[in-house]
Amino acid sequence: MIEIKNLSKTFAGRSDPNEDVEALKNVNLSIPDGSIYGIIGMSGAGKSTLVRCINMLERPTEGTVIIDGVDMAALSNKDLRAKRKEVTMIFQSFNLLMQRTCLKNICFPLELIGVKKADAERRAMELLEIVGLPDKANAYPAQLSGGQQQRIAIARALATNPKVLLCDEATSALDPKTTHQILELIKEINRNLGITCIVITHQMSVIEEICGRVAILEKGVVVEEGEVADVFAHPKSTAARHLVYPDGGNSEILALREGEQRIRVVFNGAVATERPLIAQLAKELGIEASILGANTKSIGERAYGNMILGIMGSRDDMLRAKEYLESVADVVVEEVTE
């Protein structure tokens, strides 16, 4: 269990206290063991500062972080270094040692705690298997693609058998396909090794794909927190709406026509290939819906995102359409009233 309590971080201005930057303001979060927890926000929202406060790379100005009952802020430098074996981190830019082979990169955290060379290398080979790159042991990072480099970084982060893995924009420098593969790997690690993963990102698709819960950060404040599916279906805050409907939601589409009902259909990983929903809506219920706006994508076989449908007809027609669409697993429908 990771508890973040009343966490605030202020970066002092150069001389004038008015120039102080409040990166985090009174953040409270509980992250259950074994979960994949997402923290999302636009750039500058304070996500990176928040994740660095968890392992005390940044010392919080106020408040604390408690991991398994241990107050991170109260640890001595020595104890903190020991604790960092349990709370490891991967990064947007991978941060591999460029002058070391992949094998030696994975050995790095083991070297620091004085593990014998032969034992460290044996462990590193095991980890290379786990991340699927056993043939890259003697390659240098520069010879690898971005996705492969991140796999090596993940192997390195797992070397000391951590309890928590902090992923700081771990897929932001990768293309969509590689992003998907890395997220799958993180999911696998979470499932097979029981490691709690905290995923920092600015991409809603990453949250959709792997996180159970999500916290939305805006200007250093947690504006929304909850199950990913709920936040998706009913984003309450403006920040959440921006993230869920990056194109401005329904504000930029056609004005409501006379006699038109609108619904928002949210796909939370519904199996997209099963049946053509809109066509069947027309065929089976005789309800014709026009797509007014959509922002959906398929990841694997599954659809994520949302679309706004306009239905010419009575409120009753709209409710029937809603019921019909919601009969599909992982599809949530809500009325659009504004």
Binding site: Q99, P109, L112
Partner: protein, 234 residues
Amino acid sequence: MIEKAFTAQAWNEAIAIIQSEFALAVWETLYVTVLATLIAIVIGLPLGVLLVVGEKNGVLPLPKWLMAFLGAVINILRSVPFLILMILVIPLTRAIVGTSVGTVASIVPLVIAAFPFIARLVESSLREVNPNIIEMAQSTGATPFQIIVKVMIPESVPSLISNATIAITTILGYSAMSGIIGGGGLGKIAINYGYYRYKYLVMFIAVILLVLIVEIFQRIGTKLAVKSDKRLKH
């Protein structure tokens, strides 16, 4: 005057001098340069590391006064012209070596001139290390010492080799100057025969040999730097 330098008589003289003195002079030049560079690296490398890690946001912040003192010493030593420095450090040379003239004695001013220069070169090499990688090491639980010896120095090896090449060629140039205080080597030959005795041909040959040695050092250095750089795809 110059046209007399290439007469048959001048050639005969020069060949005689080359046969009797050049082998020793080349050896002395190499020996003084390499030894002075090594000693200067032993002193300059740790100082260069301190200049980087000791900063306010470095991995091992040091007291401000200490950093200011370190910076001042290095800057002062670097501003004194080598010719003047050689004379200024004569008492120190005498205390260390027992004499202030001769080949061995010339190593002392060379080291004093070179270590602040090397400290600055090391500083610039270490600053090139990606700060994200240092953050990675911190997040992995590395101590400041581990970050220095396992991350900062190994990651900047190609740059350190390039800079060591600059240092050794510069020190070679200084060592030639030390001919003035009786330091041996090609510099002494160039000054004694060329400047004092107008044997320009001997001076030219000595200078050409110095150029050749610089060239060889530079080629070896560049090759090693490229070879050690694992960021390049081979």
